[in-house]
Symmetry: none
Subunit: 220 residues, 4 copies
Amino acid sequence: MTQTESIDHPQQAARRALVEHRSRQLLDAAATLMEREGSEAVSMQALATEAGVSVGLIYRYFGSKEDVLYAVIVDVLDALATALPAALEDAPQDPVRRLAATFTAYCTVIDSHRHSTLLTYRESKSLDAERRERIKDLELETAQPLMGSLRDGVSEGLLVTDDAELVAYDLILMAHAWALKSWYFTKTRDLESYISSQLALALRGIVAPKHRSRYADLLH
Amino acid sequence: MTQTESIDHPQQAARRALVEHRSRQLLDAAATLMEREGSEAVSMQALATEAGVSVGLIYRYFGSKEDVLYAVIVDVLDALATALPAALEDAPQDPVRRLAATFTAYCTVIDSHRHSTLLTYRESKSLDAERRERIKDLELETAQPLMGSLRDGVSEGLLVTDDAELVAYDLILMAHAWALKSWYFTKTRDLESYISSQLALALRGIVAPKHRSRYADLLH
Amino acid sequence: MTQTESIDHPQQAARRALVEHRSRQLLDAAATLMEREGSEAVSMQALATEAGVSVGLIYRYFGSKEDVLYAVIVDVLDALATALPAALEDAPQDPVRRLAATFTAYCTVIDSHRHSTLLTYRESKSLDAERRERIKDLELETAQPLMGSLRDGVSEGLLVTDDAELVAYDLILMAHAWALKSWYFTKTRDLESYISSQLALALRGIVAPKHRSRYADLLH
Amino acid sequence: MTQTESIDHPQQAARRALVEHRSRQLLDAAATLMEREGSEAVSMQALATEAGVSVGLIYRYFGSKEDVLYAVIVDVLDALATALPAALEDAPQDPVRRLAATFTAYCTVIDSHRHSTLLTYRESKSLDAERRERIKDLELETAQPLMGSLRDGVSEGLLVTDDAELVAYDLILMAHAWALKSWYFTKTRDLESYISSQLALALRGIVAPKHRSRYADLLH
DNA sequence: TATGAATGAGATTTCATTCAT
DNA sequence: CATGAATGAAATCTCATTCAT
């Protein structure tokens, strides 16, 4: 037993590393595939081919296609969970500017996961109730960084709103819209101008009148 | 002969009525089905069962499953095309209040077609390019009433924005969000309060400062 | 009873006439349809539309689709049963020339029923054993006029063959081939030259050497 | 590495062998099925059951039902493309005897693929234009060996005909007829006597009079 | 007699999943 | 651990046939 254990430890570590590596490989393949073929043509066979593995192997790392879809979606939410705090680290203290930085980061992540984002809207059908719930929770968590800056802004008198939740969610929607309605927005805008326009519009609704001049650069 | 004619007309009328009736019955069944099972389980068999007809019959009224989905989606857009002008008829002259009335009507239609609205986001994959294009066009047209009021407001100096298109589209997104994220919003709000909150938020970003007092009721 | 009978007679005659008329109308429609769309696209709906009647009506005159196909096929065989004897009426006494006349008539009927002829080869699948048998019998009967002339020719010493049956059937095949392989033969020939070429070839194999000069016109 | 290579080759060979084996198995099953049920009941389900595999598997080896039908038909034409030249290898130099050998081989192949031959006449409807064209071309190619011997015979003065094409095609028709009208011919003949009778009949029409005695054995 | 709306069995095809190797 | 051949349920669509009007 003890012998087995002491032998197993490095083996288990290796296994975990492999699992990690394979999962990444598959999720990346899924992303690449959707980016290239659209977020629909994701058959297990196509995924296997793209990842350069066999169909059978996918089932050693994901229990079902549902699992894969779930993982792809969670991947985006994970990316947000990582990118949003990271954006705040380099951001100034000013809550409004922190809000701007967070929104910018949000949109940037969505942009680089456009097709995966669509999955959330498109394939939630194939997910069971529990997973759908967990995705909703994770999505709500991505609102927290936005809400934090919003509340700070309000308590410092820079922002005015009695419904920070709604504002935060609207900002998330605006970010998602870049993926959902890219066919429309990309006709006349690039990501950068989309972000600044939406931000200006949103902020004009909540920045306290007497501080508007301070954020002139953001408000227009 | 004249008799035949006068007899024939009712026959053709009857047929047209039947076509109308069946189409409605099937579209309603589709809506009901999606309401109950989620907008996923829309198999032709399920649709037939729900409508209380045979599978074969569906194909007398719709050429394909795609046709059905398209019709369901267009149904919402038609409802909007009817409801938005209607809402403006009873509305006051004031562009801002007309904008508010239009948005309210928009949200109300979306609310009564919540699950059909999801289809646009979920099943556009099964539609061919041409139909997808037509849907986009129809959706863009629903922006016109909003944009009209917006431009009137701007030219009368009541509203300030250099990107009426973006504002209009954001309003549409807000309306769609009621369907897309109803699991979230309905937790704390009903439709009416959702509308007034979103409207207040949006208007605060665009009403000219010197006229804000005039719309105090909408801005809060 | 007697009363009913005496009243019924004209009615029954009228009915029979109607049945006759409808059947013709439907068979003609089937022929037209197959000529235009190919011998495949013969759905009951298409047939009804072509004939200008309702699907339901077809079933008053034919018990099933099988019945219709059977009737179409028999129609060709009937045409042959009529045309072949008719051709012999005007033909000279000479058995060889009578054979030629019969073959010419055979090919001419096949030509005007090309697509119906294909049905015999193509759709015998949908026919039950009994009907298939009856068609075979009728087809064999179309060989009789050919065989009659052949045997006369042999007994008069004009033709030489110990297997009149085979010769007759080969002639029938040649006639059918005009329909079966029209894609090939029509590239380089019209019906008339096809008939004379095949006839020449066939006769060269059976005309008694010493009488060949007598039929020089047919043999070349 | 070299080891991997030497290991890989057998793997690929094994796969090719499997593909070969499955294709054969399926084509044979199709033939058997048609032999037993008639060349009609060729549903994919029936084919799968007959071959002892699942429906899905068929689609790994043939892209569609059309593909299967096409392969079955081409199978016969391939057999002819192989058998006809082979028959000529062992044949004497004499063009007439070579013609006889080719015709005999043709009929023999048709006999062993009787029901598949029917497919060409029966199911060409389900094939698209391009495939139909390719089949016609392949069929025309099977006429070449016949035509070669015919032309040789003509240039050597053994045969007389000004339309070798027609003669060749008639011979093909006679061979096909063994499959098409086996219900008739098998009543009174076996394959061997069918071949010799037809051959005698055909040759009598084209062998030059002064050489008839030389081929007395073939001419009767 | 005539209609044609309605039926439903059956056909083809796809694709997530399993399992022997 | 890895493969990919094999499975079979499910989905869409067609069309001969029926039957109420």
